[in-house]
Amino acid sequence: MSTKNLYLPEIATIQEVIQETHNIVTFRVTLNNEEAMAKFKFEPGNVGQLSAFGIGESTFVINSPPTRMDYLQFSIMRSGEVTGKLHSLKAGDQIGVRAPLGNHFPYEDMKGKDIVFIGGGIGMAPLRTLLLFMLDNRDDYGKITLLYGARSPLDMAFNYELEDWLDRDDLDTHLTIDAEFDGWEHEVGLIPNVLLDIAPSSENSVAITCGPPIMIKFTLQALEKLGFKDEQIVTTLEKRMKCGVGICGRCNIGTSYVCKDGPVYTGAQLKKLPNEL
């Protein structure tokens, strides 16, 4: 049995704060314990619990890839008390980090396949870690398509790298917003509709999607139309979490604890679980 304290966070320092949108900030953090930082290992898709001590903890995906270990990156949408407190922090401030937690994207199974990323809003964060990981191991994968949508250009995170993603010839990037916006030069339309227009082939492909529930619902229908089978679809879920290690009892869907057995599931795995998203 392990003697590690599951609940004691590592203290980490925020090296950089990026104001992504009006309600999303990104932290680039390093663990204060240099040895712990040097030894830190994680997989694309793993999550962490960030502490604003005195307010509480919340779960966020590590959205930098394990191939780039100068810092760990987390993007935080303001939606409650903990995220409200985190949004008030600046570079140099300290937070707690419990990570890595949860499972990860089955990137080994995706080798040699074409990859279709479909991200909506803050749902782009978990896709980013895998996208960058794949770009850093580019030869292992076939064609990579990215469809990233947000309500408006003002809601689009990761602006500092979108140009690069659009310019790369080993990545087919599509950006979309819900409605016309002055100066917007990319697609306009809801993600599932744009996806049907792009119509990526389902043959030897995997689709990885994350976003708000309503987007996921219609994106899954679009993927089905494009011929994607349940086992070719991968998504990552959100639940209210506390312990992050499968004990405290609130994030289960039947027998599966999203914090420990998830947050990454294939469509086929989700179909086997009770319907309680």
Binding site: M1, S2, T3, K4, N5, L6, Y7, L8, P9, I11, S51, F53, G54, I55, G56, E57, S58, S79, G80, T83, G92, D93, Q94, I95, G96, P213, E238, K239, R240, K242, C243, V245, G246, I247, C248, G249, R250, C251, N252, I253, G254, T255, K260, P274, N275, E276, L277
Partner: protein, 353 residues
């Protein structure tokens, strides 16, 4: 040879006082209308007639406990910067719990499979679990709400206990059921137990004879999943529920918890407290989305967890030892036995063409 001793009821307090010299001792006593487990106090009567109102869950899993103490302080080298220290707060000392019932004490074996796994060890739970001994009283009668024999246990189930105490005339026959139990039975106050063994066996035989027939619950995991999407079923069985959570707080196998922070000035603590899956807030997300939005969804998860998900994950073992407190203390009369049986017997309505 099993170590057996006879304890006269008149010596009970002296014996517990001896044990209290080196351990924290908890024993059942009245507080208002309820029987609770409280630190042993020689001035107070110890209640041993029947199961306590609450199980001794808090002795291993406190209702509220500190996990981490943290402090904000100025960086001495750069007073413009604030640093944080976090320190774990681990439980200390040994505990002896007298007077739990077999269902209460066996309840911790449900925790063990979740809190003490190879990958995940909860060191706070482990520190208390390793250092807590149980002197358990076998039941000489059962109540109408008892159903331990439905779920693979019995009124004299020794699993998880260190000493089993069987009520006999004038006292208890104490049997050591673990090595730790033998060390608890070394007191000079305890008398030779052999002459009482036969009487104790008669007591246990009598209670066993009076147990009703136990239904077969082996199909409950699959059957509960079959009715998962039938919200009409769940709305019906949860209609009386008032979402008070009494069932969860009184349950010896309910192990869910919340983690919250408390802070005053620059010092604070991260605290773990029992949580209640019957509350809408239990799964409420910051976005406002709630995967279990009604009491029907929540009762479904509670029953499902105990009689379907847990057994599916843990070798078919049902996460309930039939103490019946959730039935006895429910202010609205919800009976978990009825719900499980209804699910097992449920036949979808066939629409004739």
């Amino acid at each position: 040879m099993t170590l057996v001793k006879y304890l006269k009821s008149t010596d009970l307090k002296s014996w517990l006082a001896e044990l209290a010299e080196k351990n924290s001792v908890f024993a059942p006593r009245y507080e208002g209308d309820s029987v609770i487990f409280a630190p042993f106090d020689p001035e107070q009567e110890i209640y041993t007639k029947s199961a306590a109102t609450v199980p001794p869950k808090k002795t291993v899993f406190p209702q509220s406990e500190k996990l981490v103490d943290f402090t904000y302080h100025k960086d001495p080298e750069n007073p413009g910067k604030t640093l944080i220290d976090g320190k774990e707060v681990l439980p200390q000392g040994t505990t002896v719990v007298f007077g739990g019932r077999p269902c209460d004490v066996r309840g911790f074996s449900m925790f063990d499979r979740v809190y003490l796994t190879k990958e995940t060890t909860d060191i706070y739970y482990k520190a208390r679990r390793d250092n807590t001994s149980f002197i358990t009283i076998a039941c000489e009668f059962t109540e109408s709400t008892c159903f331990c024999h439905w779920v693979g246990s019995s009124p004299s189930d020794p699993i998880g206990s260190d000493v089993l105490a069987v009520p006999v005339k004038g006292g208890f026959l104490l049997t050591a059921v673990s090595a730790r139990g033998e060390t608890l039975l070394t007191s000079k106050l305890l008398l030779e137990g052999k002459p009482k063994v036969e009487e104790a066996e008669e007591v246990l035989d009598k209670v066993m004879e009076n147990l009703g027939k136990a239904p077969d619950l082996s199909k409950s995991p699959g059957k509960l999943l079959e009715v998962f999407d039938n919200m009409e079923f769940w709305e019906k069985v949860s209609a009386k529920c008032i979402s008070c959570g009494t069932c969860t707080y009184l349950c010896p196998t309910c192990y869910c918890f919340n983690i919250t922070d408390e802070i005053q000035g620059l010092k604070g603590s991260r605290i773990r407290s029992w949580d209640n899956c019957m509350s809408a807030l239990f799964t409420m997300e910051a976005s406002g989305h709630n995967p279990r939005p009604t009491k029907a969804h929540r009762l479904k998860n509670r029953v499902g967890h105990k009689f379907s998900y847990y057994p599916d994950l843990h070798d078919g073992i049902i996460s309930c030892y039939g103490c019946g407190r959730c039935i006895k203390s429910c202010p609205a009369g919800v009976d978990i036995r009825e719900i499980v049986l209804k699910a097992i017997e449920f036949m979808p309505t066939v629409v004739e063409e």
